[in-house]
């Protein structure tokens, strides 16, 4: 018998009688201002959050706060005068020198500050992880309260790869001292648009 078959046979033999799945539809938070909550949570984790009037304001902020002499990539055509629109057909290693990447998220979560990104909005799976700095554009209407609502939104999405990202990469492995910028971005900025 193959390992597969013997493992499955042992599991079937040893598993206890079937119990029901619980109803998880009852997890609700009290009425709240999700935008305020999002801002507080995200800055609490070490993220930077700016309310931007429009795309033009985002461009100005990028020019003032990031090194535009270095490589900036984006998947947003509206940002083509501050960023190179990234090609999806190149090797992932070719993004090693990216200083800043700017992508749009269509789902953000107030309770933990995380944004949901699929490979379509990333352009390339590696982009939000390999860039020295990450910026994400979020329309305020796309913010939900909790992870339960977030999963309700993406229940039927057929992504090949997707991820929640909730701030700049971090570690506290050396004596519990918090250090922002472990292997991923050193900073993460979220631009909120009304």
């Amino acid at each position: 018998m193959s390992s597969r078959d013997s493992i499955l046979a042992a599991v079937l033999k040893n598993q206890p009688p079937l119990t029901d799945l619980p109803d998880i539809s009852g997890f609700k938070v009290p009425e709240e201002d999700v935008v305020e909550k999002y801002k507080n949570t995200f800055s609490g984790i070490g993220g930077l959050v700016y309310s931007a009037k429009n795309i033009e304001a985002i461009k100005n902020h990028i020019r003032e706060n990031f090194d535009t002499g270095k490589r900036i990539v984006s998947t947003l055509p509206a940002l083509s005068d501050v960023a190179e629109i990234c090609s999806t057909s190149v090797e992932p290693q070719s993004f090693e020198d990216v200083e800043l990447s700017i992508i749009e998220s269509r789902l953000a979560v107030a309770e933990n500050g995380a944004v949901w990104l699929t490979e379509e909005v990333m352009g390339h799976r590696i982009i939000p992880y390999i860039s020295q700095h990450l910026a994400v554009v979020v329309y305020e209407s796309k913010i939900v309260s909790t992870m339960h609502e977030a999963y309700a939104k993406i229940a039927d999405e057929a992504y090949g790869f997707g991820g929640f990202i909730g701030g700049p990469s971090k570690t506290a492995d050396i004596e519990q001292a918090l250090v922002l910028g472990a292997h991923g971005p050193l900073s993460m900025t979220v631009y909120l648009i009304k």
Partner: protein, 458 residues
């Protein structure tokens, strides 16, 4: 070899440096407090724990079908699936995947399962070099030590010791111990590793039967750096990582990081479903004692564990003895209930490394009754004849004393007399209970004597 000594002996070594013990104790208690603050800020926290526990009960009771469903969906998604009965078979599978592609270097993100399987050593013997990319695991690897904590692998090390390791292995300036500077050095070094590895292996936090996707959680971003830059992506998971539906991730991701370190969610929660064009994805389902554990009604709930480490942070014995004293990859209370299932003789000491205070069960996000299982393992171990002979003898003496009122009364009287008149007969180096402890003064009479004198008469 360290592995041949028991928890008490190894803890004694750790306890020689009292300042370090206090520092270690404080660091972990601080994390426990962060967990409390975070849990208290989350509405319906207890209901969340209840739901998580019930979902995992359902998984355990329907694991066979969920495994088949998961396998089916993985295949539909273009992922190659393997089944491994034990560590040896798991390691062979990884080796075959790599050698078929002529790959001799791999980068790995945190995976307790592959630590347990001793994958790195197995591959090294066959000419394949593996680098652990989680900073804490990397530090432990260059120091040739196993992780001492499942979430915080080098929590027992001082920054000066890490600085010394970096000086030796990465050529940093002698005496450099600033955590930010050391992290930057590791970042630069490992970036080069990520860029040049054709293969990457990750662990799995949650595997969704409904969709065939698996979720990997990190704070550092190392799993993603490895996975998205490589051409061969491998994931190793224990059978128990299955959850039924994608929506259940909502429950577990809300609990995991809050329980682990008091953070509302890990920075990265990556959902891998299909390989990217030109990439291969392999997933290995590992039994390694899980199906056997299912057959033990008293202990099968330990399969619910989501490896948050909160039971370690809260455990008074773990905090004061250090993870390496447990001589097992997974240390602390959860390690002490998982290990005897795999090798009862080797791990017979671990269920005794507890005060049974119950704090572990109170913080566990999936409500495993850890301290009850510790207590039950003690009974099984004694019954099977694996307990230390000194312990077996004293337990037999205790059983005899408690079974007879005459012996009990005489023993109590004698004990009180000795404690008051000749304490050195008990408080000596032959009685391990007295290490780091003192006895309170013994009362003149027992409760029984007091009762018959004062209450019975009136």
């Amino acid at each position: 070899m360290k592995g041949t000594q028991d928890h008490a002996t190894l803890a004694e070594v750790f306890n020689r440096d009292e300042d370090r013990v206090d520092w270690h104790d404080g660091a972990l208690w601080w994390i426990r407090q962060k967990r409390d603050r975070s849990a208290n800020l989350t509405p319906q926290w207890e209901e969340l724990r209840e739901a998580a526990s019930a979902i995992k009960s359902n998984v355990i009771s329907n694991l066979h079908d969920y495994l088949l469903q998961f396998e089916d969906n993985l295949k539909k998604n273009g992922v190659k699936v393997y089944w491994a009965a034990d560590a040896e078979e798991h390691n062979q599978i990884v080796y075959k995947i790599l050698s078929d592609k002529n790959i001799n270097q791999m980068v790995k993100s945190k995976s307790m399962l592959t630590e347990e399987c001793h994958l790195n050593e197995y591959l090294a013997d066959r000419g394949i070099d593996v680098i652990n990319s989680d900073l804490g695991e990397y530090i432990q690897q260059i120091d040739n030590e196993p992780p001492s904590h499942i979430v915080l692998p080098c929590i027992h090390k001082k920054k000066e010791e890490i600085g010394e390791l970096f000086h030796e292995h990465l050529g940093t300036e002698k005496g450099l111990s600033d955590p930010t500077l050391l992290t930057r050095v590791a970042r630069n070094h490992l970036r080069n590793v990520f860029m040049t590895r054709r293969a990457a292996l990750t662990g799995v936090n949650f595997a969704v039967a409904e969709t065939g996707e698996y979720v990997v959680c990190t704070n550092e971003g190392n799993a993603d750096m490895g996975a998205h830059l490589c051409e061969v992506q491998i994931a190793s998971m224990g059978l128990e990582k299955i959850i039924p539906e994608r929506k259940h991730l909502g429950v577990f991701l809300r609990l995991l990081a809050r329980s682990a370190i008091g953070q509302p969610i890990t920075i990265y929660s990556s959902h891998f479903r299909k390989p990217r064009p030109g990439q291969e994805m392999h997933l290995i389902l590992v039994d390694k004692g899980r199906s056997e554990l299912l057959a033990r009604p008293d202990f099968r709930d330990s399969l619910k564990c989501i490896k948050c480490g909160s039971c370690m942070n809260t455990c008074p014995v773990y905090r004061k003895s250090g993870g390496l004293s447990y001589h097992n990859t997974i240390s602390g209370p959860i390690g002490a209930i998982l290990a005897p299932n795999l090798d009862m003789k080797k791990h017979a000491d671990l269920p005794f490394a507890s005060t049974l205070c119950g704090s572990c069960s109170n913080v566990c996000p999936v409500k495993i009754p850890i301290h009850e299982q510790l207590y039950k393992w003690r009974q099984v171990i004694v019954k099977e004849g694996y307990s230390a002979s000194r312990k077996t003898f004293s337990m037999k003496a205790m059983a005899l004393t408690l079974s007879s009122p005459e012996i009990y009364n005489t023993a109590g009287k004698t004990g009180r007399w000795i404690l008051n008149h000749a304490p050195f007969a008990i408080n000596n180096k032959f009685n391990p209970w007295y290490k780091q402890r003192d006895m309170p003064d013994s009362p003149e009479q027992s409760f029984g004597e007091w009762y018959s004198k004062n209450v019975k008469k009136s």
